[in-house]
Amino acid sequence: MEGLLYLEDGTVFLGKGFGFPKTSVGELVFNTSMTGYQEILTDPSYTGQIINFTYPLIGNYGITESENESNEIHAFGAIAKHICFEPSNYKSIDNIDQWLFNRKVPGLFEIDTRAVTRKIREFGAMKCVISNENISIADAKKLCEESMLRQDYMKTVGTKEMIHIPGNGPKVSVLDFGVKTNILNELKKRDCDVYLFPYNSTAQQLLSVNPDGLFLTNGPGDPKEATEAVNEIRLLLHKIPIFGICMGHQILAQAVGGTTYKMKYGHRGGNHGVFDKDTGRSIITSQNHGFAVNAESILLTGMEITHINLNDRTVEGMKHQSLPVFSVQFHPEAAPGPNDSSYLFDRFLTLMKGGTLHA
């Protein structure tokens, strides 16, 4: 199977195809994690994106039953230098080729993935066409030019109806923009009684279960598209402890009056250092975002910046100066990535039990 990657600036990379024979259009991004391809591909936040893996050997340990971050592969395509057809791990039930085939996702390998990364680094995340169906470059170009990339997947990728995941601890309303399984696992681990709400839920609906706290999940797309959610959350700011992650953080920022912007190529990987002002220490974080909160935009909103990215000084977290409301840009639930920041879930639990963010 021949394969092709066409970038909107006209650059073409030729390689081999794997997975499902298909042509898709999406936003080309790169991820620098060395492990966790299965978690990444099933992370709903990658909806609409085609992932260029910088680590050259993808698929080494196969696919397991326990490491899906949702029920399907959300990424629109996967690009690797080499993929492994004979994986090795006692938990493996499938290889990546077969898995992508079964889930109807196209893959591309024998690509100079470092060149692709450097391209994105220089020119920013861009529109691209991935195909392993032997289409011509001209066809790819045409398709690329004719396609529009949707930016509102956070409205559609999450649950369609309310789901109750019972527990004996604090009751949490979770507003689902495309939640990762491990976020729910972290809440379950702390015995939370979880109600998972669909995107278009109103403030009233979110309160209807008498929650102790509101959790805003990760999710794909441009946070500016999520106007409905922004408006509903604004109504809840003074009512209930809130914790947001990634998209949840960006939506929360808008709810308090802040703004977001699109980064050149975002942060995707598991190795960025983030300084936590509250502890005075730094942690290594799991990251996956293409948008960020404008630092100045939240200065007079009652929010203060709590976390800063050590590389580019972007906002990685904030908390309200008086309300039990906080959020982070990175992923304390990890999966994949380091677990350094799982204490933030404990912080949320403390808030729901009446504690405060201010010692």
């Binding site: 492990t35 080494n60 340990y61 090795s88 470092r114 680094r121 990987g269 190795n271 050590l310 580019d312």
Partner: protein
């Protein structure tokens, strides 16, 4: 936290001589630490006894003490220097132990010096078996269940509880004697009995074995604020059971899921936090391949060989950052020096695969077992980087010069299936080739995994390589196939051999289809950020990142892995070569494959190619960079051996050209040249058949020196005394062929002298002459040598200077030359000429203050010695005495013969420096780690040729010093005849006496070596194992007596002074 303002002066401890398990990596980390501290404006005082290192150079630290790494010497240095802190985490186990000693003696307290980076408690917790176990239990980290037992009942009960396999380790034995492995009750009873018998207190440690589990390592860093990061993790190709230093290692881990990776990462952070280490630390885990269960195997609370590897693999300068942390900085205040402006508080992301491959000294030690286990045996290692495991592995394999081009070794391919299968049972240095052959014979991955426990992922990688071999052998060589083979790492030679396509045809395919590698950058961040370190590796891909500048450039070819005979001294020369080129305004480009060295540090050269030193790879870099010239004389025999092929390809070799190199190395041409110059040389012949050998013997006289031509460190060199020995040698030790003749020379008995010089065509400069303590017959690398000469007459020195000048001129030497001479009392003979840097260059540079490599580079670039300000001819002697003492790794290689001979055996060296000769000798012995007895029982056994008046005289002195003499039958008879009181001691009693500290010194000059059956071999080995000094030359015994006398007086006087190198040279 900013740096601690109270730190004004810091002592940095080096690691001393190179031994197995402690090699060049500590020169690399120590040098980085010195630079990192010095740039903060803090005064640095370095102490290291190893003169071959870069760190002991003036300019790296403010003051350098080439003194023994022993507490009593350190105490004097501390008293003199009054430092604020000591950095002990950069000099391996040696420095840690020394720091503990200083703490225990109260020295640190007395002088109010703090241990920086790692404190006494942490060291204790990590190093003490019990304390470590206790700590792991406290923080709930799993360790293998173990008990200390003194009865079989306890052992059986324990086995019942935890199951098999079990490891048995006797308490208080040396070198692991009596240890074993039990897979069932029968083996357990047997092994426990042996173990208890071997233990001096009848005690054994019984531990549940995790042999066969995956071995995974994490390199962790922590600062005083408790920020922790992982620099890199690594997975061993060989499962638990083979020492990680002897394992093939890949980075990052390949078969761990993210969950497993993070589980071990979390454990690593927990451990480094509990130990409160401020700096770097290495943690080893065993991971059950079938359940994700793990145990903690070991923690090294310091930078290590693994951290050097991790630094090079990830591009993250661990030692530099660890040094900054020790000063008080926190990780999030520091920059990533590689990208230039992102934070140092991050975890490197690799976008390539790294393979480390060890190199072992088995070719030199015919009696040593090639079996690999828990005791490390490798002397060095190479690292290779590429975008696939297969390519990185093949690159690593082709990094060893004079070895194979791939995974095919003829004699392994000829093994029967049964032999092959049996060979897989025990891990050894050749296992990878055996595995490949097994795959060629269609043994399944599954069967091989069952047999070896090596992860199928790695075996599949090997399979892809053997499949490619098959493909090349059976399919036509299309451009596509050739590209695939090259991308996998097949060398031109290998492709040619397999496909039977002519080299010229291959070259056509290559050029027409543009099949050349591209170079990618090692940047710590997988391309996420722009980077400024020019550190590259090759692979076959689309985009080339190496930007070629318009500057004048020179390529320096490195020396590859550390081997016996080619050690760190050549890295010293390469690094100085780089610096000199930079000073001269050139862009200096380095190519090398050794991750332990300073030459492969990210900021040493202007551009670093981390590549195999195979001709193909070197040529690819040359093609890419098109340098004005290539320097081959600094990288030892490794780079020099490339000279011919470079010359054939019209590559400009800077300095001495290939014609001259060949002239110096070609026996016959060179003898002829010496004859023309009227310089004597031992008569000799190059022979290619047995017949020729015996014809040659008729014209010479026994004893004879025999050796193969073109050798490193006198490999397979021997002195033979009769026809029988000669025949044995020619049959067993070498393979005779017209391409590789064997050299037979008359053996000149006498003094051996070593001269190093720089030559520019008109003049030469000899910074100094070194005289050996041992007579000819002992390899120059293994003999004690002395600067300045201590017995040579002015006439002899004039002759040496003259000869050296004549030879350099006749050979048209441009740059460095090393000549070994022998003097039998009347004549001076040339034994060997090396038109390159030598082992003695760093020593002479240091003790004379003449920057030899820099001058050599200037000469190569066209400058003349007379303009350089250091004069010409023989330089005036400095008013100091320097005594180089070799150091052996005989404790690690448990079945090697320790007797000295023409074959080099030492792995490292130390230097004793003092204004008094006897003190310099004393310091040299102390630094080498030999225990110097002051009285007691001396056991002696001499070969007949040593039963001489001078031996009698020496032994009389030993008696006078208070030693009682015991000996073997012949020797005792001889001594008694000569009025020396000596008693006969049978072998059994000697062995018992050694083991029970009743014999304090063994002097054994053997008739034959390398005969493990002989009585003398047993005695030498036993003494080595129990750290009783063994001297195998009377000359060494004579020098040792000087040390003994000083040690005896030392109690009363404290006359031994410590001085920084700079003070000697004033």
């Amino acid at each position: 936290m900013p740096k601690n303002p109270n730190l004004k002066k810091i002592i940095i401890l080096g690691s001393g001589p190179i031994v197995i398990g402690q090699a060049a990596e500590f020169d690399y980390s120590g040098t980085q630490a010195c630079k990192a501290i010095r740039e903060e404006g803090i005064e640095t005082v370095l102490v290291n006894s190893n003169p071959a290192t870069i760190m002991t150079d003036p300019g790296i630290a403010d003051k350098v003490y080439l003194e023994p790494l022993k507490a009593e010497f350190l105490e004097k240095i501390i008293e003199k220097e009054q430092p604020d802190g000591i950095l002990a985490g950069f000099g391996g186990q040696t420095a840690l132990n020394l720091a503990m000693d200083l703490a225990d003696r109260g020295t640190l307290k007395k002088y109010n010096v703090s241990l920086l980076g790692v404190n006494q408690q942490s060291i204790q917790k990590a190093e003490d078996r019990d304390a470590f176990k206790q700590l792991m239990l406290e923080i709930d980290e799993p360790i293998p269940p173990s008990i200390i037992a003194t009865s079989l009942e306890e052992c059986e009960a324990f086995a019942e509880e935890v199951g098999y396999p079990l490891i048995i380790r006797p308490a208080y034995t040396l070198g692991g004697t009596g240890g074993g492995f039990a897979k069932n009750k029968e083996e357990l009873i047997l092994q426990c009995q042996i173990g208890m018998e071997n233990s001096s207190i009848g005690q054994i440690l019984l531990e549940k074995s995790v042999a066969g589990w995956k071995e995974i390592e994490y390199e962790v860093m922590r600062d005083a604020k408790d920020n922790c990061i992982i620099i890199c993790n690594m997975e061993n190709f060989d499962p638990v059971g083979v020492h990680t230093g002897d394992s093939i290692v890949v980075a990052p881990s390949q078969t761990l899921r993210d969950t497993e990776y993070q589980m071990l990462r979390n454990a690593s952070l927990k451990i480094i936090r509990s130990l409160k280490i401020e700096g770097g630390c290495n943690i080893q885990f065993a991971l059950d391949p079938k359940s994700s269960r793990y145990i903690v195997i070991e923690v090294n609370p310091r930078v290590s060989r693994s951290s050097a590897l991790a630094s090079k693999a990830a591009g993250y300068p661990i030692a530099k950052i660890a040094a900054k942390i020790a000063l008080g900085y926190s990780l999030d205040e520091l920059k990533n020096y590689v990208t230039g402006d992102t934070s140092a508080c991050f975890e490197p992301a690799l976008d390539y695969c790294v393979v480390k491959f060890p190199t072992w000294p088995f070719d030199k030690f015919q009696t040593a077992s090639r079996k690999l286990g828990t005791q490390m045996k490798a002397t060095g290692e190479v690292m290779a980087i590429s975008n696939s495991f297969e390519n990185a592995l093949l690159k690593a394999l082709t990094s060893f010069d004079n070895k194979n081009d791939g995974l095919r070794i003829p004699w392994i391919q000829e093994l029967s299936s049964e032999e092959l299968w049996n060979k897989l049972s025990i891990p050894n240095d050749q296992r990878i080739y055996v595995l490949a052959e097994a795959l060629r014979r269609n043994i399944t991955i599954n069967d091989l995994h069952e047999k070896t426990q090596i992860d199928p992922w790695f075996l599949n990688g090997l399979k892809r390589i053997t499949d490619m071999e098959q493909n090349l052998a059976t399919s036509p060589l299309t451009p596509k196939l050739m590209l695939e083979a090259e991308a996998m790492g097949f060398t031109d030679q290998e492709i040619k051999d397999l496909s039977k396509v002519h080299r010229s045809a291959m070259q056509d395919i290559r050029i027409y289809n543009d099949i050349f590698p591209v170079y990618k950058m090692v940047d710590t961040c997988s391309g996420e950020f722009e980077c400024r370190t020019p550190y590259y590796y090759s692979c076959f891909d689309k985009e080339d990142e190496s930007r070629i500048s318009n500057q004048k450039k020179v390529l320096v070819i490195g020396s590859g892995p550390i081997r016996i005979g080619q050690g760190i001294e050549f890295d010293y020369c390469c690094v100085h070569g780089i610096w000199a080129l930079q000073k001269a305004g050139y862009e200096a480009i380095m190519i090398n494959n050794n991750p332990e060295t300073v030459s492969t540090d990210f900021d040493t050269s202007d551009k670093l190619y981390f590549e195999s030193l195979h001709m193909d790879d070197v040529m690819n870099v040359i093609k890419k960079e098109r340098p004005e010239g290539v320097i081959v004389q600094f990288g030892g025999q490794t780079s020099l051996n490339l000279a011919q092929r470079l010359a054939e390809r019209s590559i400009h070799i800077l300095g001495t050209n290939y014609t001259s190199i060949d002239l110096a190395e070609d026996r016959e041409k060179f003898s002829q040249l010496l004859a023309e110059l009227n310089i004597p040389t031992p008569k000799g012949f190059a022979i290619t058949t047995m017949q020729e050998a015996f014809t040659a013997v008729k014209q010479l006289e026994y004893p004879l020196v025999v050796r193969p031509s073109y050798v490193i460190g006198g490999r397979a060199m021997q002195v033979v005394y009769n026809d029988l020995e000669l025949e044995k040698y020619l049959k067993e030790a070498v393979s005779l062929s017209t391409e590789h003749p064997v050299l037979i020379d008359r053996y000149i008995q006498g003094k051996e002298i070593e001269v190093d010089a720089i030559a520019d065509g008109d003049d030469i400069l000899i910074p100094g002459i070194m005289e050996h303590i041992e007579k000819t017959g002992v390899h120059s690398g293994d003999s004690i040598s002395v600067y300045p000469p201590y017995t040579l007459s002015e006439k002899v020195i004039n002759t040496l200077t003259n000869y050296t000048k004549k030879i350099a001129k006749a050979l048209n030497v441009n740059g460095l030359i090393n000549i070994q001479y022998a003097c039998d009392g009347e004549e001076i003979y040339v034994i060997e000429v090396n038109p390159r840097a030598s082992r003695t260059v760093p020593i002479l540079s240091k003790v004379t203050g003449i920057p030899m490599v820099q001058l050599a580079v200037n000469v190569m670039l066209g400058d003349k010695l007379k303009n350089m300000g250091f004069g010409t001819g023989l330089a005036v002697n400095q008013t100091l005495h320097a005594v180089k003492v070799p150091v052996f790794s005989s404790e690690k290689l448990t079945d090697m013969d320790v007797a000295l001979g023409p074959e080099m055996k030492s792995t490292g060296e130390v230097l004793g420096l003092d204004s008094e000769f006897s003190h310099a000798v004393y310091k040299g012995f102390v630094a080498s780690g030999v225990l110097i007895p002051t009285k007691g029982n001396l056991y002696i056994s001499l070969r007949d040729s040593e039963k001489t008046q001078s031996s009698i005289d020496l032994l009389k002195k030993y008696c006078k010093c208070g030693f009682s003499i015991f000996g073997s039958k012949g020797t005792v008879e001889y001594l008694n005849q000569n009025k020396i009181q000596a008693s006969l001691l049978p072998e059994e009693d000697v062995l018992w006496g050694i083991q029970n500290k009743n014999i304090h010194l063994v002097v054994n000059v053997p008739e034959h070596m390398n005969d493990p059956e002989s009585q003398a071999f047993h005695i030498r080995r036993k003494a080595t194992d129990y750290r009783v000094p063994v001297l195998t030359c009377m000359d060494t015994a004579k020098a040792f007596l000087l040390a003994i006398q000083i040690e005896q007086q030392k109690k009363e006087t404290t006359s031994i002074k410590v001085k920084a190198l700079e003070e000697y040279l004033q």
